[in-house]
Protein backbone atom coordinates (compact mmCIF):
# COMPACT_ATOMS: atom_id res chain seq x y z
CA UNK A 1 0.00 0.00 0.00
CA UNK A 2 1.00 3.54 -0.59
CA UNK A 3 1.88 5.73 2.37
CA UNK A 4 -0.69 8.44 2.94
CA UNK A 5 -0.34 11.63 5.02
CA UNK A 6 -2.36 9.66 7.53
CA UNK A 7 0.47 7.19 8.15
CA UNK A 8 2.87 8.16 10.93
CA UNK A 9 6.58 8.18 10.28
CA UNK A 10 9.26 6.75 12.48
CA UNK A 11 7.31 3.73 13.65
CA UNK A 12 8.05 0.04 13.27
CA UNK A 13 5.08 -1.78 11.78
CA UNK A 14 3.96 -5.04 13.40
CA UNK A 15 0.44 -5.27 12.07
CA UNK A 16 0.31 -3.61 8.70
CA UNK A 17 -2.46 -1.76 6.87
CA UNK A 18 -3.68 -4.99 5.36
CA UNK A 19 -3.84 -6.70 8.73
CA UNK A 20 -0.71 -8.80 8.18
CA UNK A 21 1.61 -9.59 11.08
CA UNK A 22 5.33 -8.89 10.74
CA UNK A 23 5.99 -11.65 13.26
CA UNK A 24 3.49 -14.51 12.84
CA UNK A 25 4.29 -15.69 16.39
CA UNK A 26 2.43 -12.67 17.69
CA UNK A 27 -0.78 -14.54 16.98
CA UNK A 28 0.29 -17.15 19.48
CA UNK A 29 1.72 -14.84 22.12
CA UNK A 30 -1.34 -12.65 22.12
CA UNK A 31 -5.00 -13.51 22.37
CA UNK A 32 -5.86 -11.28 19.44
CA UNK A 33 -9.49 -12.37 19.35
CA UNK A 34 -10.03 -11.36 22.97
CA UNK A 35 -8.21 -8.09 22.41
CA UNK A 36 -10.36 -7.46 19.35
CA UNK A 37 -13.49 -7.94 21.41
CA UNK A 38 -12.26 -5.47 23.96
CA UNK A 39 -11.38 -2.94 21.28
CA UNK A 40 -14.75 -3.29 19.65
CA UNK A 41 -16.61 -3.08 22.96
CA UNK A 42 -14.66 0.06 23.89
CA UNK A 43 -15.57 1.55 20.51
CA UNK A 44 -19.26 0.87 20.93
CA UNK A 45 -19.29 2.38 24.39
CA UNK A 46 -17.38 5.44 23.23
CA UNK A 47 -19.82 5.90 20.35
CA UNK A 48 -22.78 5.74 22.67
CA UNK A 49 -21.21 8.05 25.23
CA UNK A 50 -20.43 10.53 22.49
CA UNK A 51 -24.07 10.51 21.40
CA UNK A 52 -25.12 11.68 24.86
CA UNK A 53 -23.73 15.11 24.00
CA UNK A 54 -22.01 15.61 27.35
CA UNK A 55 -20.43 19.04 27.93
CA UNK A 56 -16.80 19.32 26.82
CA UNK A 57 -16.84 15.70 25.66
CA UNK A 58 -14.44 14.53 22.96
CA UNK A 59 -14.60 11.02 21.51
CA UNK A 60 -11.81 8.52 22.13
CA UNK A 61 -12.52 6.55 18.95
CA UNK A 62 -9.24 5.60 17.28
CA UNK A 63 -7.15 5.72 20.45
CA UNK A 64 -8.34 2.52 22.14
CA UNK A 65 -5.50 0.18 21.21
CA UNK A 66 -2.87 1.47 23.70
CA UNK A 67 -5.36 1.36 26.52
CA UNK A 68 -6.68 -2.09 25.74
CA UNK A 69 -3.12 -3.38 25.39
CA UNK A 70 -2.14 -1.76 28.65
CA UNK A 71 -5.14 -3.28 30.38
CA UNK A 72 -4.01 -6.71 29.24
CA UNK A 73 -0.48 -6.13 30.53
CA UNK A 74 -1.13 -4.71 33.96
CA UNK A 75 -1.32 -6.68 37.19
CA UNK A 76 -3.72 -6.02 40.00
CA UNK A 77 -1.13 -4.24 42.14
CA UNK A 78 -0.16 -1.83 39.37
CA UNK A 79 -1.48 1.73 39.48
CA UNK A 80 -2.66 3.95 36.70
CA UNK A 81 -2.93 7.73 36.82
CA UNK A 82 -5.29 8.63 34.04
CA UNK A 83 -5.04 11.67 31.84
CA UNK A 84 -8.41 11.26 30.15
CA UNK A 85 -9.97 9.56 27.15
CA UNK A 86 -9.14 6.19 28.60
CA UNK A 87 -12.40 4.72 29.72
CA UNK A 88 -11.50 1.55 27.83
CA UNK A 89 -8.71 1.02 30.33
CA UNK A 90 -11.11 1.41 33.25
CA UNK A 91 -13.34 -1.20 31.70
CA UNK A 92 -10.50 -3.62 31.23
CA UNK A 93 -9.38 -3.04 34.83
CA UNK A 94 -12.84 -4.18 35.87
CA UNK A 95 -14.59 -0.98 36.85
CA UNK A 96 -18.34 -1.60 36.55
CA UNK A 97 -20.02 0.16 33.65
CA UNK A 98 -22.59 1.64 36.01
CA UNK A 99 -19.81 3.28 38.02
CA UNK A 100 -18.19 4.50 34.80
CA UNK A 101 -21.45 6.12 33.79
CA UNK A 102 -22.08 7.61 37.23
CA UNK A 103 -18.74 9.34 37.05
CA UNK A 104 -18.81 10.38 33.44
CA UNK A 105 -22.39 11.61 33.56
CA UNK A 106 -21.88 13.22 36.98
CA UNK A 107 -24.70 11.24 38.58
CA UNK A 108 -25.28 10.89 42.30
CA UNK A 109 -23.52 8.03 44.05
CA UNK A 110 -20.34 8.13 41.97
CA UNK A 111 -17.46 7.01 44.18
CA UNK A 112 -14.83 9.17 42.52
CA UNK A 113 -14.98 12.66 41.03
CA UNK A 114 -13.66 13.20 37.52
CA UNK A 115 -13.36 16.50 35.65
CA UNK A 116 -16.19 17.21 33.23
CA UNK A 117 -15.54 15.95 29.73
CA UNK A 118 -12.21 14.30 30.59
CA UNK A 119 -13.46 10.91 29.45
CA UNK A 120 -11.81 9.33 32.46
CA UNK A 121 -12.79 7.23 35.41
CA UNK A 122 -11.27 6.63 38.83
CA UNK A 123 -11.54 3.74 41.20
CA UNK A 124 -9.77 3.29 44.49
CA UNK A 125 -10.52 -0.43 44.32
CA UNK A 126 -8.84 -0.71 40.95
CA UNK A 127 -5.87 1.57 41.65
CA UNK A 128 -7.03 3.93 38.99
CA UNK A 129 -6.56 7.61 39.78
CA UNK A 130 -8.55 10.06 37.66
CA UNK A 131 -7.18 13.30 36.20
CA UNK A 132 -6.94 16.36 38.41
CA UNK A 133 -9.00 19.43 37.59
CA UNK A 134 -5.82 21.43 37.01
CA UNK A 135 -4.18 20.33 33.78
CA UNK A 136 -1.87 17.37 34.13
CA UNK A 137 -1.17 17.41 37.86
CA UNK A 138 -1.95 13.71 38.16
CA UNK A 139 1.28 13.00 36.26
CA UNK A 140 3.28 14.50 39.12
CA UNK A 141 1.27 12.44 41.58
CA UNK A 142 2.16 9.36 39.56
CA UNK A 143 5.89 10.03 39.87
CA UNK A 144 5.49 10.41 43.63
CA UNK A 145 3.56 7.19 43.80
CA UNK A 146 6.26 5.39 41.83
CA UNK A 147 8.80 6.83 44.22
CA UNK A 148 6.92 5.40 47.19
CA UNK A 149 6.85 2.02 45.45
CA UNK A 150 10.55 2.22 44.81
CA UNK A 151 11.38 3.19 48.39
CA UNK A 152 9.09 0.51 49.81
CA UNK A 153 10.39 -2.05 47.36
CA UNK A 154 6.73 -2.74 46.60
CA UNK A 155 6.05 -4.72 43.46
CA UNK A 156 4.18 -2.96 40.74
CA UNK A 157 4.40 -0.52 37.91
CA UNK A 158 2.98 2.97 37.93
CA UNK A 159 1.55 4.19 34.65
CA UNK A 160 0.54 7.71 33.68
CA UNK A 161 -1.52 8.12 30.52
CA UNK A 162 -2.08 11.40 28.73
CA UNK A 163 -2.35 13.04 25.35
CA UNK A 164 0.21 15.05 23.41
CA UNK A 165 -1.60 18.19 24.52
CA UNK A 166 -0.29 17.78 28.03
CA UNK A 167 3.32 17.39 26.93
CA UNK A 168 3.72 21.16 26.71
CA UNK A 169 2.16 21.76 30.11
CA UNK A 170 4.76 22.75 32.67
CA UNK A 171 3.62 20.47 35.46
CA UNK A 172 3.98 17.48 33.13
CA UNK A 173 7.43 18.55 31.95
CA UNK A 174 8.43 18.88 35.59
CA UNK A 175 7.11 15.43 36.40
CA UNK A 176 9.05 13.91 33.49
CA UNK A 177 12.20 15.60 34.83
CA UNK A 178 11.62 14.20 38.30
CA UNK A 179 11.08 10.70 36.93
CA UNK A 180 14.28 10.93 34.92
CA UNK A 181 16.34 12.46 37.72
CA UNK A 182 15.21 9.86 40.26
CA UNK A 183 15.09 6.94 37.82
CA UNK A 184 11.58 6.00 38.92
CA UNK A 185 9.72 2.82 37.90
CA UNK A 186 7.06 4.53 35.85
CA UNK A 187 5.64 4.13 32.36
CA UNK A 188 4.38 7.21 30.56
CA UNK A 189 1.86 6.41 27.88
CA UNK A 190 1.37 9.37 25.58
CA UNK A 191 -1.33 9.32 22.93
CA UNK A 192 -0.14 11.72 20.25
CA UNK A 193 -2.82 12.77 17.87
CA UNK A 194 -2.01 12.32 14.20
CA UNK A 195 -2.34 15.45 12.05
CA UNK A 196 -2.42 14.59 8.35
CA UNK A 197 -2.27 18.32 7.64
CA UNK A 198 -0.16 20.88 9.53
CA UNK A 199 -0.95 20.75 13.23
CA UNK A 200 -2.12 23.97 14.86
CA UNK A 201 0.12 25.68 17.41
CA UNK A 202 -2.09 24.30 20.18
CA UNK A 203 -1.21 20.72 19.30
CA UNK A 204 2.13 20.63 21.07
CA UNK A 205 3.67 19.04 18.02
CA UNK A 206 6.96 20.55 16.95
CA UNK A 207 10.50 19.45 16.45
CA UNK A 208 10.89 15.74 16.82
CA UNK A 209 8.18 13.66 18.37
CA UNK A 210 7.39 13.26 22.04
CA UNK A 211 9.43 10.08 22.27
CA UNK A 212 12.52 11.85 20.94
CA UNK A 213 12.09 14.62 23.46
CA UNK A 214 11.91 12.06 26.28
CA UNK A 215 14.77 10.09 24.87
CA UNK A 216 17.07 13.07 25.29
CA UNK A 217 15.93 13.22 28.92
CA UNK A 218 17.54 9.83 29.39
CA UNK A 219 14.39 7.75 29.24
CA UNK A 220 13.84 4.57 27.32
CA UNK A 221 11.38 5.83 24.75
CA UNK A 222 9.55 4.34 21.80
CA UNK A 223 7.17 5.67 19.20
CA UNK A 224 4.53 3.30 17.88
CA UNK A 225 1.46 3.44 15.68
CA UNK A 226 -1.69 3.45 17.78
CA UNK A 227 -3.54 1.78 14.93
CA UNK A 228 -1.20 -1.21 15.27
CA UNK A 229 -2.29 -3.09 18.37
CA UNK A 230 0.63 -5.51 18.19
CA UNK A 231 3.29 -2.80 18.06
CA UNK A 232 1.61 -0.92 20.86
CA UNK A 233 1.36 -4.05 22.97
CA UNK A 234 4.99 -5.00 22.49
CA UNK A 235 6.32 -1.54 23.31
CA UNK A 236 4.20 -1.34 26.44
CA UNK A 237 5.21 -4.86 27.40
CA UNK A 238 8.89 -3.94 27.28
CA UNK A 239 8.25 -0.67 29.10
CA UNK A 240 6.35 -2.38 31.92
CA UNK A 241 9.00 -5.07 32.21
CA UNK A 242 11.72 -2.45 32.47
CA UNK A 243 9.81 -0.60 35.16
CA UNK A 244 9.26 -3.85 37.06
CA UNK A 245 12.99 -4.50 36.85
CA UNK A 246 13.73 -1.08 38.29
CA UNK A 247 15.31 0.19 35.09
CA UNK A 248 13.82 3.66 35.33
CA UNK A 249 11.16 5.55 33.48
CA UNK A 250 9.88 4.74 30.00
CA UNK A 251 7.88 6.72 27.50
CA UNK A 252 5.70 4.96 24.97
CA UNK A 253 4.33 7.43 22.47
CA UNK A 254 1.40 6.03 20.53
CA UNK A 255 0.32 7.94 17.45
CA UNK A 256 -3.46 7.84 17.55
CA UNK A 257 -5.83 8.65 14.74
CA UNK A 258 -8.87 10.87 15.32
CA UNK A 259 -11.56 8.84 13.60
CA UNK A 260 -14.02 11.72 13.59
CA UNK A 261 -11.80 13.30 10.94
CA UNK A 262 -12.53 10.33 8.62
CA UNK A 263 -9.09 8.92 7.90
CA UNK A 264 -8.66 5.94 5.56
CA UNK A 265 -10.10 2.75 7.12
CA UNK A 266 -6.72 1.14 7.80
CA UNK A 267 -6.02 3.90 10.35
CA UNK A 268 -8.69 2.41 12.59
CA UNK A 269 -7.15 -0.07 15.07
CA UNK A 270 -10.40 -2.06 15.16
CA UNK A 271 -10.56 -2.38 11.40
CA UNK A 272 -6.90 -3.30 11.11
CA UNK A 273 -7.15 -6.10 13.63
CA UNK A 274 -10.40 -7.19 12.01
CA UNK A 275 -8.56 -7.60 8.72
CA UNK A 276 -6.08 -9.87 10.42
CA UNK A 277 -8.78 -11.94 12.08
CA UNK A 278 -10.75 -12.18 8.86
CA UNK A 279 -7.70 -13.40 6.99
CA UNK A 280 -7.02 -15.84 9.82
CA UNK A 281 -10.58 -17.05 9.49
CA UNK A 282 -11.58 -16.11 13.00
CA UNK A 283 -13.80 -13.17 12.14
CA UNK A 284 -17.34 -13.24 10.79
CA UNK A 285 -19.82 -10.43 10.40
CA UNK A 286 -22.14 -12.30 12.71
CA UNK A 287 -19.63 -12.62 15.53
CA UNK A 288 -18.81 -8.93 15.05
CA UNK A 289 -22.46 -7.97 15.25
CA UNK A 290 -22.87 -10.02 18.39
CA UNK A 291 -20.03 -8.26 20.19
CA UNK A 292 -21.43 -4.89 19.16
CA UNK A 293 -24.95 -5.80 20.19
CA UNK A 294 -23.75 -7.12 23.55
CA UNK A 295 -21.82 -3.94 24.26
CA UNK A 296 -24.74 -1.81 23.23
CA UNK A 297 -27.19 -3.68 25.39
CA UNK A 298 -24.80 -3.61 28.33
CA UNK A 299 -24.54 0.14 27.91
CA UNK A 300 -28.28 0.62 27.69
CA UNK A 301 -28.92 -1.68 30.62
CA UNK A 302 -26.47 0.25 32.76
CA UNK A 303 -28.08 3.57 31.81
CA UNK A 304 -31.48 2.12 32.57
CA UNK A 305 -30.28 0.83 35.94
CA UNK A 306 -29.15 4.33 36.73
CA UNK A 307 -32.51 5.75 35.72
CA UNK A 308 -31.14 7.79 32.82
CA UNK A 309 -33.49 8.38 29.89
CA UNK A 310 -31.89 8.39 26.48
Amino acid sequence: MERTPWDPEGVEVRLNEAGQLADPNAAERLDLRALFEQLLTARVIDTHLTRLGLPMWAPAAGSEAPLVALGALLHEEDWVFSGGRDISLALSRGVALTEVLRQVLGLGGARVRVPAGAGAVGSSEHNLVPPTESMGLQVGMATGFAHAQKLGRAPGVTVATFGEGLTTVGAVAEALAIAAAQSLPIVFLCKSQLWPDAPPAEAGIFGDSVHARCSTMGMWARRVDGADLVAVHDALDTACARARDGLGPCMVECVVTPLHRTPPPHRDPVERLRRFLEAAGTWTQTSHDIVEAKAKSKFQKALHELGVDQ
Binding site: G117, T168, P200, A203
Partner: protein
Protein backbone atom coordinates in the same frame (compact mmCIF):
# COMPACT_ATOMS: atom_id res chain seq x y z
CA UNK B 1 -31.94 38.26 18.27
CA UNK B 2 -28.52 36.80 18.86
CA UNK B 3 -26.79 35.20 21.82
CA UNK B 4 -24.62 37.24 24.10
CA UNK B 5 -21.64 35.16 23.00
CA UNK B 6 -22.25 35.91 19.34
CA UNK B 7 -22.51 39.58 20.09
CA UNK B 8 -19.28 39.44 22.11
CA UNK B 9 -17.56 37.76 19.19
CA UNK B 10 -18.44 40.80 17.07
CA UNK B 11 -17.03 43.09 19.71
CA UNK B 12 -13.79 41.11 19.76
CA UNK B 13 -13.49 41.58 16.01
CA UNK B 14 -14.26 45.29 16.32
CA UNK B 15 -11.66 45.70 19.03
CA UNK B 16 -9.06 44.14 16.74
CA UNK B 17 -10.07 46.44 13.89
CA UNK B 18 -10.01 49.56 16.03
CA UNK B 19 -6.50 49.13 17.36
CA UNK B 20 -3.73 47.35 15.51
CA UNK B 21 -1.88 46.82 18.76
CA UNK B 22 -4.55 44.39 19.90
CA UNK B 23 -3.90 40.66 19.60
CA UNK B 24 -6.04 37.77 20.80
CA UNK B 25 -4.58 34.71 22.47
CA UNK B 26 -6.22 31.57 23.68
CA UNK B 27 -6.94 27.96 22.95
CA UNK B 28 -8.27 27.43 19.43
CA UNK B 29 -8.61 31.15 18.72
CA UNK B 30 -7.67 30.57 15.11
CA UNK B 31 -10.59 28.20 14.95
CA UNK B 32 -13.24 30.33 16.62
CA UNK B 33 -12.08 29.92 20.20
CA UNK B 34 -13.34 27.60 22.89
CA UNK B 35 -16.40 29.78 23.50
CA UNK B 36 -16.71 30.98 19.92
CA UNK B 37 -15.47 34.46 20.81
CA UNK B 38 -13.21 34.70 17.78
CA UNK B 39 -15.76 33.39 15.27
CA UNK B 40 -16.27 36.82 13.77
CA UNK B 41 -12.55 37.66 13.77
CA UNK B 42 -11.48 34.51 11.90
CA UNK B 43 -13.64 35.59 8.98
CA UNK B 44 -11.76 38.83 8.46
CA UNK B 45 -8.35 38.40 6.87
CA UNK B 46 -7.31 41.88 7.89
CA UNK B 47 -7.38 40.94 11.54
CA UNK B 48 -7.11 37.14 11.69
CA UNK B 49 -3.27 37.20 11.68
CA UNK B 50 -3.57 38.75 15.12
CA UNK B 51 -5.31 35.65 16.47
CA UNK B 52 -2.44 33.82 18.11
CA UNK B 53 -2.64 30.13 18.91
CA UNK B 54 -0.27 28.73 21.51
CA UNK B 55 0.47 25.25 22.82
CA UNK B 56 -1.33 24.27 26.01
CA UNK B 57 0.35 25.80 29.03
CA UNK B 58 -0.62 26.80 32.56
CA UNK B 59 1.73 29.68 33.14
CA UNK B 60 3.71 30.62 30.05
CA UNK B 61 0.64 31.55 28.01
CA UNK B 62 -0.07 34.25 30.56
CA UNK B 63 3.52 35.46 30.77
CA UNK B 64 3.63 35.36 26.98
CA UNK B 65 0.67 37.73 26.90
CA UNK B 66 2.51 39.93 29.40
CA UNK B 67 5.59 39.86 27.16
CA UNK B 68 3.49 40.89 24.18
CA UNK B 69 2.24 43.81 26.25
CA UNK B 70 5.82 44.73 27.21
CA UNK B 71 6.54 44.74 23.49
CA UNK B 72 3.75 47.25 22.84
CA UNK B 73 0.86 44.95 22.00
CA UNK B 74 -2.51 45.00 23.74
CA UNK B 75 -3.36 41.36 24.30
CA UNK B 76 -6.83 40.04 24.93
CA UNK B 77 -6.49 36.56 26.32
CA UNK B 78 -9.48 34.26 26.13
CA UNK B 79 -9.32 31.85 29.03
CA UNK B 80 -11.14 28.52 28.82
CA UNK B 81 -12.28 29.09 32.38
CA UNK B 82 -11.49 31.16 35.40
CA UNK B 83 -9.87 27.97 36.72
CA UNK B 84 -7.05 28.56 34.25
CA UNK B 85 -6.28 31.85 35.99
CA UNK B 86 -5.89 30.04 39.29
CA UNK B 87 -3.56 27.52 37.60
CA UNK B 88 -1.52 30.45 36.36
CA UNK B 89 -1.72 32.54 39.50
CA UNK B 90 2.03 33.12 39.75
CA UNK B 91 1.97 34.55 36.23
CA UNK B 92 -0.90 36.87 37.12
CA UNK B 93 1.07 38.14 40.09
CA UNK B 94 4.18 38.83 38.04
CA UNK B 95 2.20 40.45 35.25
CA UNK B 96 0.35 42.76 37.58
CA UNK B 97 3.41 44.01 39.41
CA UNK B 98 5.67 44.16 36.37
CA UNK B 99 5.36 47.88 35.69
CA UNK B 100 6.13 48.82 39.29
CA UNK B 101 9.13 46.54 39.48
CA UNK B 102 10.42 47.45 36.05
CA UNK B 103 9.84 51.16 36.41
CA UNK B 104 7.65 51.72 33.38
CA UNK B 105 5.08 54.44 33.26
CA UNK B 106 2.06 52.37 32.48
CA UNK B 107 0.72 49.09 33.74
CA UNK B 108 0.66 46.30 31.16
CA UNK B 109 -2.52 46.64 29.06
CA UNK B 110 -3.59 43.03 29.34
CA UNK B 111 -7.20 41.88 29.40
CA UNK B 112 -8.06 38.36 30.50
CA UNK B 113 -11.56 37.26 29.66
CA UNK B 114 -12.80 34.28 31.61
CA UNK B 115 -16.15 32.55 31.87
CA UNK B 116 -16.93 31.69 35.47
CA UNK B 117 -19.47 30.03 37.65
CA UNK B 118 -22.22 27.56 36.87
CA UNK B 119 -23.94 27.42 33.54
CA UNK B 120 -22.35 24.88 31.24
CA UNK B 121 -22.96 21.82 33.41
CA UNK B 122 -19.30 21.28 34.17
CA UNK B 123 -19.10 21.49 37.96
CA UNK B 124 -15.71 21.32 39.67
CA UNK B 125 -13.25 24.11 39.12
CA UNK B 126 -15.07 25.38 36.08
CA UNK B 127 -18.03 26.26 38.28
CA UNK B 128 -16.10 28.35 40.75
CA UNK B 129 -15.77 32.08 40.46
CA UNK B 130 -12.24 32.06 41.89
CA UNK B 131 -12.76 35.58 43.07
CA UNK B 132 -11.05 34.95 46.39
CA UNK B 133 -7.91 33.76 44.59
CA UNK B 134 -7.95 36.62 42.10
CA UNK B 135 -8.42 39.31 44.71
CA UNK B 136 -5.29 38.06 46.49
CA UNK B 137 -3.33 39.37 43.53
CA UNK B 138 -2.49 42.90 44.57
CA UNK B 139 -3.25 45.47 41.93
CA UNK B 140 -5.11 43.14 39.59
CA UNK B 141 -8.37 44.68 38.44
CA UNK B 142 -11.29 42.25 38.61
CA UNK B 143 -14.58 43.14 36.96
CA UNK B 144 -17.62 40.92 36.77
CA UNK B 145 -20.66 41.26 34.54
CA UNK B 146 -24.20 40.86 35.79
CA UNK B 147 -26.51 42.14 33.06
CA UNK B 148 -26.00 40.22 29.81
CA UNK B 149 -27.20 42.98 27.50
CA UNK B 150 -24.39 45.11 28.88
CA UNK B 151 -21.64 42.55 28.38
CA UNK B 152 -20.58 44.00 25.03
CA UNK B 153 -20.23 47.46 26.55
CA UNK B 154 -18.43 45.98 29.55
CA UNK B 155 -15.96 44.25 27.27
CA UNK B 156 -15.27 47.47 25.39
CA UNK B 157 -14.77 49.37 28.62
CA UNK B 158 -12.48 46.72 30.10
CA UNK B 159 -10.41 46.54 26.90
CA UNK B 160 -9.64 50.24 26.94
CA UNK B 161 -6.43 50.80 28.77
CA UNK B 162 -6.18 54.41 27.75
CA UNK B 163 -5.95 55.65 31.32
CA UNK B 164 -3.13 53.22 32.13
CA UNK B 165 -5.37 50.76 33.92
CA UNK B 166 -3.90 47.66 35.53
CA UNK B 167 -4.09 44.20 34.03
CA UNK B 168 -7.72 43.25 34.15
CA UNK B 169 -9.76 40.10 34.52
CA UNK B 170 -13.23 40.32 33.06
CA UNK B 171 -15.40 37.58 34.51
CA UNK B 172 -18.43 36.53 32.53
CA UNK B 173 -20.89 34.30 34.40
CA UNK B 174 -21.55 31.26 32.24
CA UNK B 175 -25.25 31.13 32.97
CA UNK B 176 -25.66 34.52 31.32
CA UNK B 177 -23.53 33.90 28.24
CA UNK B 178 -26.10 31.89 26.33
CA UNK B 179 -28.90 34.39 26.87
CA UNK B 180 -30.45 35.97 23.84
CA UNK B 181 -30.07 39.66 23.25
CA UNK B 182 -31.10 42.18 20.63
CA UNK B 183 -27.88 43.40 19.00
CA UNK B 184 -29.48 46.75 18.31
CA UNK B 185 -30.32 47.13 21.98
CA UNK B 186 -26.68 46.80 23.02
CA UNK B 187 -26.62 49.07 26.03
CA UNK B 188 -24.03 51.57 27.03
CA UNK B 189 -22.73 51.48 30.56
CA UNK B 190 -24.36 54.01 32.81
CA UNK B 191 -21.56 54.07 35.31
CA UNK B 192 -17.83 53.67 35.26
CA UNK B 193 -16.75 50.08 35.81
CA UNK B 194 -14.98 50.94 39.03
CA UNK B 195 -18.14 51.99 40.82
CA UNK B 196 -20.96 50.13 42.51
CA UNK B 197 -24.30 50.29 40.73
CA UNK B 198 -27.54 50.72 42.58
CA UNK B 199 -30.14 48.57 40.85
CA UNK B 200 -33.03 48.99 43.29
CA UNK B 201 -33.32 52.01 45.52
CA UNK B 202 -34.98 50.64 48.67
CA UNK B 203 -34.23 52.18 52.04
CA UNK B 204 -34.61 49.51 54.69
CA UNK B 205 -31.87 47.10 53.78
CA UNK B 206 -28.82 47.00 51.48
CA UNK B 207 -27.74 43.93 49.56
CA UNK B 208 -24.27 43.71 48.06
CA UNK B 209 -23.91 41.16 45.30
CA UNK B 210 -22.23 40.56 41.96
CA UNK B 211 -22.22 38.49 38.82
CA UNK B 212 -24.59 35.57 38.69
CA UNK B 213 -26.12 36.47 42.07
CA UNK B 214 -27.52 39.81 40.97
CA UNK B 215 -30.54 38.56 39.07
CA UNK B 216 -31.68 36.33 41.94
CA UNK B 217 -31.16 39.12 44.43
CA UNK B 218 -33.32 41.42 42.33
CA UNK B 219 -36.06 38.81 42.25
CA UNK B 220 -35.79 38.23 45.99
CA UNK B 221 -35.93 41.97 46.59
CA UNK B 222 -39.28 42.08 44.77
CA UNK B 223 -40.65 39.35 46.98
CA UNK B 224 -39.25 40.53 50.30
CA UNK B 225 -41.39 42.33 52.86
CA UNK B 226 -38.92 45.18 53.03
CA UNK B 227 -37.72 48.00 50.83
CA UNK B 228 -34.38 46.73 49.52
CA UNK B 229 -31.48 48.59 48.03
CA UNK B 230 -29.70 46.24 45.59
CA UNK B 231 -26.07 47.07 44.88
CA UNK B 232 -24.03 45.36 42.16
CA UNK B 233 -20.33 45.68 43.01
CA UNK B 234 -19.20 45.45 39.34
CA UNK B 235 -15.56 45.87 40.34
CA UNK B 236 -14.43 43.27 42.84
CA UNK B 237 -10.97 44.75 42.92
CA UNK B 238 -10.44 47.51 43.70
CA UNK B 239 -13.61 47.74 45.77
CA UNK B 240 -15.52 51.00 45.56
CA UNK B 241 -15.14 51.67 49.29
CA UNK B 242 -17.01 54.95 49.28
CA UNK B 243 -19.90 53.54 47.31
CA UNK B 244 -20.12 50.55 49.62
CA UNK B 245 -20.04 52.62 52.79
CA UNK B 246 -22.64 55.02 51.44
CA UNK B 247 -24.95 52.18 50.46
CA UNK B 248 -24.56 50.50 53.84
CA UNK B 249 -25.09 53.66 55.86
CA UNK B 250 -28.17 54.53 53.82
CA UNK B 251 -30.11 51.64 55.32
CA UNK B 252 -28.16 50.42 58.35
CA UNK B 253 -28.79 46.81 57.48
CA UNK B 254 -26.60 44.73 55.18
CA UNK B 255 -26.75 41.35 53.47
CA UNK B 256 -23.97 40.10 51.19
CA UNK B 257 -24.85 37.51 48.57
CA UNK B 258 -21.99 35.64 46.93
CA UNK B 259 -22.46 33.50 43.77
CA UNK B 260 -20.00 30.86 44.89
CA UNK B 261 -18.82 28.71 47.77
CA UNK B 262 -17.80 30.41 51.02
CA UNK B 263 -14.42 32.00 50.61
CA UNK B 264 -12.40 34.85 51.93
CA UNK B 265 -12.94 37.11 48.98
CA UNK B 266 -14.76 40.45 48.62
CA UNK B 267 -17.63 39.44 50.88
CA UNK B 268 -15.27 39.24 53.85
CA UNK B 269 -13.52 42.41 52.80
CA UNK B 270 -16.84 44.25 52.71
CA UNK B 271 -17.80 42.94 56.14
CA UNK B 272 -14.41 43.95 57.49
CA UNK B 273 -14.80 47.42 55.98
CA UNK B 274 -18.21 47.80 57.58
CA UNK B 275 -17.05 46.46 60.96
CA UNK B 276 -14.36 49.09 60.91
CA UNK B 277 -15.99 52.12 59.35
CA UNK B 278 -19.74 51.74 59.65
CA UNK B 279 -20.27 49.75 62.79
CA UNK B 280 -22.18 52.54 64.53
CA UNK B 281 -24.53 52.81 61.57
CA UNK B 282 -25.46 49.16 61.61
CA UNK B 283 -28.67 48.01 63.24
CA UNK B 284 -28.34 44.31 62.54
CA UNK B 285 -25.68 41.65 61.99
CA UNK B 286 -24.06 41.68 58.56
CA UNK B 287 -25.29 38.46 57.01
CA UNK B 288 -23.53 36.49 54.27
CA UNK B 289 -25.24 34.15 51.93
CA UNK B 290 -23.07 31.76 49.99
CA UNK B 291 -23.79 28.91 47.65
CA UNK B 292 -22.98 25.27 48.16
CA UNK B 293 -19.71 24.51 49.89
CA UNK B 294 -16.86 22.41 48.52
CA UNK B 295 -15.90 20.90 45.22
CA UNK B 296 -19.25 21.12 43.48
CA UNK B 297 -20.53 18.36 41.21
CA UNK B 298 -21.96 19.24 37.84
CA UNK B 299 -25.50 18.38 38.84
CA UNK B 300 -25.34 20.69 41.83
CA UNK B 301 -23.54 23.55 40.20
CA UNK B 302 -26.53 25.88 40.20
CA UNK B 303 -26.59 25.62 44.00
CA UNK B 304 -23.45 27.74 43.98
CA UNK B 305 -25.81 30.67 43.65
CA UNK B 306 -28.03 31.05 46.71
CA UNK B 307 -31.67 30.39 45.88
CA UNK B 308 -34.27 33.15 45.62
CA UNK B 309 -36.04 31.60 48.62
CA UNK B 310 -32.93 31.61 50.75
CA UNK B 311 -32.16 35.19 49.78
CA UNK B 312 -35.73 36.32 50.44
CA UNK B 313 -35.85 34.84 53.91
CA UNK B 314 -32.48 36.32 54.84
CA UNK B 315 -33.69 39.71 53.62
CA UNK B 316 -36.84 39.44 55.71
CA UNK B 317 -34.95 38.26 58.79
CA UNK B 318 -32.40 41.05 58.54
CA UNK B 319 -35.02 43.72 57.88
CA UNK B 320 -36.93 42.78 61.02
CA UNK B 321 -33.95 41.98 63.22
Amino acid sequence: MTTVLEQLSRVVADLLREDRRRVVLGEDVRDGGMLGLTRAAVEDEAISPRLLGLPLTSTAGLTHAAGLAIGGARPLMLMPSVAALVEGLAALRETTRFSKRYDTERALPLLLIAPCGPGFGLGGDAAMDAVSHLTCVEGLRVVVGAEPSEFPALLRAAASFDAGESPTVLLLPRNLLLREMDPAAEEDLEDAIDQVRTLEHGDELTVFCWGAAVERVQQAAQRADASVRVTDLVSLQPLDRDGILEAARATGRVVIVTPSAPSNGPSCQIAALLADEAILHLDAPVKHLYGRTGDVEARHEHDLIPSIDAITSTLNATATY
